[in-house]
Symmetry: C2
Amino acid sequence: MNSKIQWLRNKISLQNIQGMIVSNPVNIKYLIGIDAEGILLITRKENFFLTDARYIEQVQSILTINDEIIVNDIADISKDDYENFFMFCENVGFEENYVTYAKYKDYLQKYKIHSFEETEYLIEKQRMIKDEEEIECIKKACQITDDCFKHICEYIKIGKTEKEIAFEIERFFTANGAEGVSFDTIVASGKNSSKPHAVPTDKKIESGDTITIDMGCKYKGYCSDMTRTIFAGFVPIQVKSVYDLVLKNQMQTLRQMQEGAGIKLISKMVENDFKLNGYDLVHSLGHGVGLDIHELPFINSKNDGILKENMVVTDEPGIYIPNNFGVRIEDTVLITKSGCINLTKSDKNCIIVDKS
Amino acid sequence: MNSKIQWLRNKISLQNIQGMIVSNPVNIKYLIGIDAEGILLITRKENFFLTDARYIEQVQSILTINDEIIVNDIADISKDDYENFFMFCENVGFEENYVTYAKYKDYLQKYKIHSFEETEYLIEKQRMIKDEEEIECIKKACQITDDCFKHICEYIKIGKTEKEIAFEIERFFTANGAEGVSFDTIVASGKNSSKPHAVPTDKKIESGDTITIDMGCKYKGYCSDMTRTIFAGFVPIQVKSVYDLVLKNQMQTLRQMQEGAGIKLISKMVENDFKLNGYDLVHSLGHGVGLDIHELPFINSKNDGILKENMVVTDEPGIYIPNNFGVRIEDTVLITKSGCINLTKSDKNCIIVDKS
């Protein structure tokens, strides 16, 4: 049996759960490598993937006999079949953070489940710790992102629009081995950069613009995430001091990120330093990166957890002056026993594009 | 007050519901035109949008005084504030098809709700019937899609890869007034076309390939959706008969789509004609299109509903021969009292590209 399914079976049996319905498609992709609509049933003895006719061929071509997963077309499943799946299971687990309330009620009734147990991000927590193969994919996604940033710094000229730049980033990704973007690319210039989640507009780059570029791609399903704030023509004096403050905190966080480091403490230190200077950290300091662009662990001052070896997380402090400008600097990093390895290696030294 | 919020208030009060938590971001976009993380609270007297610091500036710049929506930063909301929102509401509605089981429990506890009522796609059902402004946006998205298809037929040459073609489609959309794609573009050639949900690969177009292109863009948030199956160099004889069968059924469905038409009946007719010829319709015949690419109504033989004036739906029969080829032809259409208006007008006559 596939080792990840074996892990899941062991894990739930320790919690006196005999069966589980896995509905989150990202968890299904993690467990059995399949990207298709459907649900995975872990029953007492067998594993089933229930899907529909649109995906049967594709799924059969990916799974091997070693996966020990029985693929069923939901059109062929009778009322009795549904009731038989978990017949001998005292407790059945489900993903309460993914399944809607309506689906929860539907599952209860369709599968005739006696005791439906919340599993509290069981699979998502396992996904936090990456194996070698996963790390290789993220490294590759980060490398394509670095190459793209180098290219885009040459590409950006005064007069280009935010949309054109975002599009060129996405073109580069696809042309250079990525499957596509890992999230909608942010290119926010001038006043637009004051919105942490700005959407690229038709605004043209002007001399003196602060430009925040938040970008990432996917390689074999795994994401990268990097932000750089750069400048067109020159660095406005009032932005420079904010830039230096953000960069100082971003670098300091990098130095603290390692196995055993307290997430709350790391986050608090940035919050405090920003406050001392009259600013607020309005979003999390970072987040896990993997099959999802935002996944566990979330790096903020509400999280009492610690960093662990082989977690991959971002470090992305930012300061935003409403209706004026914003600065965010972000890397994707791999946590090790003695520190962290920065997987996005692009220059952070106040890059000025189109100096002419 | 914004007319859509007024509609919602009237609608819930008819069901003896005094307050509602709207969580589905597409429903929020529909009701108040906002694209930001957050939730909309309809309370006895007031409307609140709870969001976080990342979105406050953006939200404030979109809402006007006429919207009568109070914007709150969740960081500033106390335990008591939460409990006060619905203090005088006997019944509070929620979106059981969107809210996760965990969130449902969290809402119950945080807002101290006595009776939490399922609202059964209340807003989604209203969204089925488009107003003039919405129809104009969809028409524009469809027109850009038609223009793109014309362009892409010139662009495709033997030797181009599926990925290159998909990327050119996306480039054209963005360069011609669309916000972007409304879903991941499908370009599936040769054997790949047998998978209804194929992802573009590095496979090069070869002479004799059947190429299924499923594409759509967004204009002011509204989607278009169109599929054409075209051919490289020539039309293989065994594909032609399948193509003709699919096209015949697609056209017949177009002729039946009008106010009052039974969705089940329309779908059954295609299923039956396919069966008579030895094939199956493995997916729905169509779906609603609007702010979501797939929305109500779903056009399949399980739906007992009828079509109504100003619904916008797709008509997309397809036949797939595993490991061999597939044919799908799809239009986005507007339902009227006496028929339907085809909004995607691209040629369906067995187009052959790169004939040379």
